[in-house]
Symmetry: C2
Subunit: 195 residues, 2 copies
Amino acid sequence: MPPPENPLTPARILEATEDVLRRYGPAKATVVDVARALGVSHGSVYRHFATKAALREAVTERWLDREHDELSAIADGKGPAEDRLRRWLAALFAAKRRKAGDDPELFATFMELARENSGTVARYLTTLLKQLATIVASGVADGEFAARDAAATARALWDATARFHDPMYASEWLAPEIDADFAEVCELLLRGLRA
Amino acid sequence: MPPPENPLTPARILEATEDVLRRYGPAKATVVDVARALGVSHGSVYRHFATKAALREAVTERWLDREHDELSAIADGKGPAEDRLRRWLAALFAAKRRKAGDDPELFATFMELARENSGTVARYLTTLLKQLATIVASGVADGEFAARDAAATARALWDATARFHDPMYASEWLAPEIDADFAEVCELLLRGLRA
DNA sequence: TGGCTGACAAAGATTGAAATCTGTCAGCTG
DNA sequence: CAGCTGACAGATTTCAATCTTTGTCAGCCA
C-alpha cells in the first residue's frame, strides 16, 4: 500500500475530483472514482462533502474564481475608462474562447457543471457585473461616459455582449467573422456610452 | 370509409403534420401518425416529401415565414428610423415572448425543429437582418444615424439584442426585470447609432 | 476517540431483446 | 395510368431486467 498521502482534506478531494472530471467527463465521474484516485473509501469523501452535488458545486466555484481573477486586474487598473472597458470585454471574450478552443471536452464538462450550479454561476455573474459597473462609474466620474445608473449600464453591456461570452454560443466562436462582429458590437456600445 | 378528403396535397400534409406535432410533440410525432390523421397510408406521404426530415423542415419554414411577416410591415413603414428600429426590436421581443409564454410546449416543439433545421433558420436570419439593415440605411440616408456599413451595424444590433430574441433565453423572459434590461440595452444601442 | 471502512438500501443508469418506425417498391385499383 | 396501398428490410426506440451509484451507518483500528 502506498504511504497514506497525508490527511484527507477538502482541497485534496477537489483536486482529485477535477482530475477525475477531466479523465472521465461529467457523466461518468463518480464519487467512487474520486475516492479510488485518493486511495480511500468513498465513505470518507462524504465526510467532507455532504453530497455529490455539493462536491461538484465546490469544483465549479473554484473554476469560476480562477476565471474572474484574470479580469479584476483590468477593472481596477488605471487609464481611460474606455480603454479599460474595451480591454475588459476583449479579455473576457479571449479567455472564454481560448478555454473553449484549447480543450473542448473540458469546456463541455465545465458547461455541464455550470448548468447544474446556477446559484454559484449567479454569484460569479454578480462579481463580474460589479467589475463592469466599477469601470463605468469611473468613466462617469472622469466625464468620459454618460450613464445615469452604472449598475444598469453594466447589465446592459453584459447582455449586449452575450454572444461573446455566453458558453451557449461557444460553437460560433470558431467562425472567422466573429472578431469583426465583436468589434462592431463594442464600437456601437462605446459610442452609446460616450458623454 | 369517410369520403376521401379531396386530393392529397403538400399543403394538407403540412397542416396535418402541425396538428400531430402539437398533439404529440416533436419526439413522438411519426409519419404514420400524420398519415393516419389524413386517412391515408404513410407511403402516400412519402410521395410528397422525400423524408421525414424534409417534412419537418417544410413545417419549420412555414412557421418562420408567418413570424417574419409581422415584422416586415414595421421595417418598410414610414416615420423616423429611430422610431421604427425601436418598434421593430420591441415587436420582435414581444412576439417571441408571447409565443414562448402562451404555449410553452408548442414553443419547445418549435425550438426542437429549429435546432434540426439550422439551414432554414439561417435563411430566416438573413431575411430579418435585411429588414434591420433597411431601417439602419434609411436612418443614415436621413442623417439620423451614423453608420459606415448598414449590414454590419444590423448584425451588431442583432447580436447585441440576442438575450431578447434567442429562444435559448426564453426561460429568462418571465423575470420581472427583463423589460428594464431590454429598455437599457435599446437605449445604449440607439445612443450609439445616432449621428 | 476520531477518522476511516465497507456492507447495505434506495435511486438511477445500462443493456439488449422486442416493438416500432422509416423509407422502398411491386403491384392493386378506379 | 396516376395515385395509392401495404408488406418488408434496416434503423431506431422502448422497456424491463440487471447492474452501478449514491448516501448511510454500525463498527473497526491506530
